[in-house]
């Protein structure tokens, strides 16, 4: 038995070493970027290469000089992603509940087709969409961006929430109905509280997806409303002269909000599941 224990200990050590190696490799580019944003740059002309400093916060201030509206774009991105995620959750929660409790043939097929829809690249429909939105006078409006972002991410939300709501036993709802509760009270007082962790996890993932969308806000706006990804793209297609430390600082600033969100709610995020047969 002792050889088994020794093997287990050896396995555990190998596992930790592999994990450390993997994390280091995956985080190296980000660390490089973070160092550059604080002014720590490699000097590749010396042998061996060396580092030049000094450490400074100036590059974060230079973002506002290079792109005067950057902080406003950050606010727009945050507000648009938050509103879109909330709208998606609302619509998808109702529809997913409806699907779960409707009990019809082809329910699985329908939810799977939502996953296929979620996999459809935005490029596939964004060209005519931009035309329609212009005709509906929703181009360059906050509402236009929010509604479109919400629609683009809704199929994924329906698929995930359908899987989550399917796990709920209908008994609690039946009890509430016997007490005389209608659909609104059943949803608000029974289903919503029980599904809250899954809803929160899905909302966070949706926020990250919306926050990072480029194509949708890009073709629906022409300067009035700008999100951070669109601003970055403008910068790099029109003036490639942006210096690296400032770009790095902008990258760090645009990553920090979602990183904090994910860091704070990482326990909740464990409830995000693509698999209908797992979880509680």
């Amino acid at each position: 038995m002792s050889s088994l224990r020794a093997r287990r200990r050896r396995d555990a050590v190998i596992r930790i070493l592999l994990l450390i190696a993997a994390i280091t490799a995956f985080l190296l580019p980000l660390t490089w970027t973070a160092l550059a944003s604080f002014g720590l740059l490699p000097d590749n002309s010396t042998r061996p290469p060396s580092w030049e400093g000094p450490i400074t916060l100036d590059h974060f201030r230079e973002i506002g000089v290079a792109e005067p509206t950057f902080w406003q774009e950050l606010a727009t991105s945050t507000a648009a992603a938050a509103c879109a995620a909330a709208l998606t959750i609302l619509c998808s929660f109702l529809a997913a509940y409806g699907l779960v409790r409707s009990r019809f043939v082809g329910e699985d097929l329908l939810t799977q087709s939502f996953l296929v829809l979620a996999s459809l690249p935005a490029m596939a429909y964004v060209i005519p969409l931009s035309d329609l939105m212009r005709r509906a006078h929703l181009v360059d409006t906050f509402a236009g961006v929010v509604l479109t972002e919400a629609a683009v991410t809704a199929p994924l939300a329906v698929y995930v929430l359908h899987g989550a709501l399917r796990q709920l036993s209908p008994e609690w709802e039946e009890a509430a109905v016997i007490d005389g509760a209608g659909l609104f009270r059943v949803l608000g007082e029974v289903v919503f509280p029980m599904a809250a962790p899954s809803l929160a996890a899905t909302a966070i993932v949706l926020f990250v997806l919306d926050w990072n969308l480029l194509l949708v806000p890009l073709v629906l706006t022409s300067g009035e409303i700008k999100t951070v990804p669109v601003a970055m793209m403008d910068f790099f297609t029109f003036e490639r002269e942006l210096d690296w430390p400032t770009a790095a600082a902008a990258l760090v600033v645009s990553l920090v909000p979602v990183a904090i969100l994910v860091g704070v709610f990482h326990r909740v995020l464990e409830r995000f599941s693509l698999d209908a047969s797992l979880g509680a």
């Binding site: 993997a22 690296w244 860091g263």
Partner: protein, 289 residues
């Protein structure tokens, strides 16, 4: 609870409104428009039949894009799945600070594709590149940037894509993988099964439907590759790393050749929907069998 007709209307109407107005309607109108010469900037519209599609298929640049995306998808998706699974496998048992490990490992996915392109551009090009730094330590002179090389441009954007998506795969697989009871692993390992057999016999059967769903999402993501390619290589050098989505975007929004852009975009949709049919067929078997 038993839903009445009015309940159903209330539950489904918001989603139906959102999806029909912003997804189904534009997609279908767009499909109709691809059989005409319609363009929002044009004055007259004629029926064009399949001419737009013929023009797209005959375009050598689109041909290059299709070849590139085929290579891209066939390398990136298995790579992301394998790497993502491997990392989830390492993280499946509780270890100290697993929460922190998970958050750190998800960071690459949190970087937006466009920021990802910007970041890798500076990491691979110019005086401060990580490549020159590494080669400098090895005593070599500065190396040419891989994104300017016809043969290395595509492998580079594939590698960058794997770097961003593999952590997301880990995030998606980990809940499923850690819910497999430990006894199953123990039994397989006591039976003397090799590491690889353990993975195939213990992990893959219960994860089948999850893996199918993740693969479907990854294929869609990969067939629509656009943001990071746009910044990193712009499709170049020449057509070495152009993708269909980049081609559609350039046609519709850069050179204002609307019908060609819309038609090529529909070809991407058809490819994804085709993969979707295969997915649904496989997923159906896994739920019934």
């Amino acid at each position: 609870m038993r839903l009445t007709q009015r309940d159903r209307l209330f539950l489904f109407a918001p989603l139906a409104f959102l999806l029909s107005g912003w997804l189904a309607l534009p997609a279908l109108l767009g499909l109709l428009a691809t059989f005409t010469t319609y363009s929002p900037f044009g004055t007259s519209v004629h029926v064009a039949g399949l001419n737009n599609y013929v023009a797209v298929i005959q375009d050598l640049q689109f041909g290059a894009a299709v070849r590139n995306i085929a290579v891209f998808t066939l390398v990136a998706v298995p790579g992301e799945l394998a790497l993502g699974f491997g990392l989830a496998y390492l993280l499946r048992r509780p270890i100290r600070g697993r929460g922190l490990w998970r958050v750190l490992l998800l960071l690459p996915w949190l970087v937006s594709p466009i920021a990802n392109g910007v970041m890798w551009h500076f990491l691979l090009v110019g005086a401060t590149s990580i490549l020159d730094f590494g080669s400098g330590w090895l005593g070599q002179s500065n190396v040419a940037s891989p994104i300017g090389d016809v043969r290395l441009a595509l492998p580079t954007i594939i590698a960058v894509e794997i770097w961003r998506e593999a952590p997301f795969v880990t995030f998606l697989l980990l809940p499923g993988l850690s819910s497999i009871p430990n006894e199953l692993w123990e039994r397989a390992s006591l039976d003397g099964a090799s590491w690889i057999r353990q993975v195939f016999d213990v992990a893959l059967p219960p994860l089948r439907s999850l893996l199918l769903a993740v693969t479907m999402l990854l294929v869609g993501l990969s067939l629509g590759s656009f943001d990071s390619v746009l910044i990193l290589t712009g499709g170049g050098p020449g057509t070495a790393s152009v993708t269909p989505a980049l081609y559609s975007y350039n046609q519709a929004f850069v050179v204002n050749n609307w019908p060609i852009g819309a038609a090529s975009a529909w070809l991407i949709a058809v490819a994804v929907l085709g993969v979707g049919l295969v997915y649904m067929k496989l997923a159906r078997r896994s739920t019934t069998g």
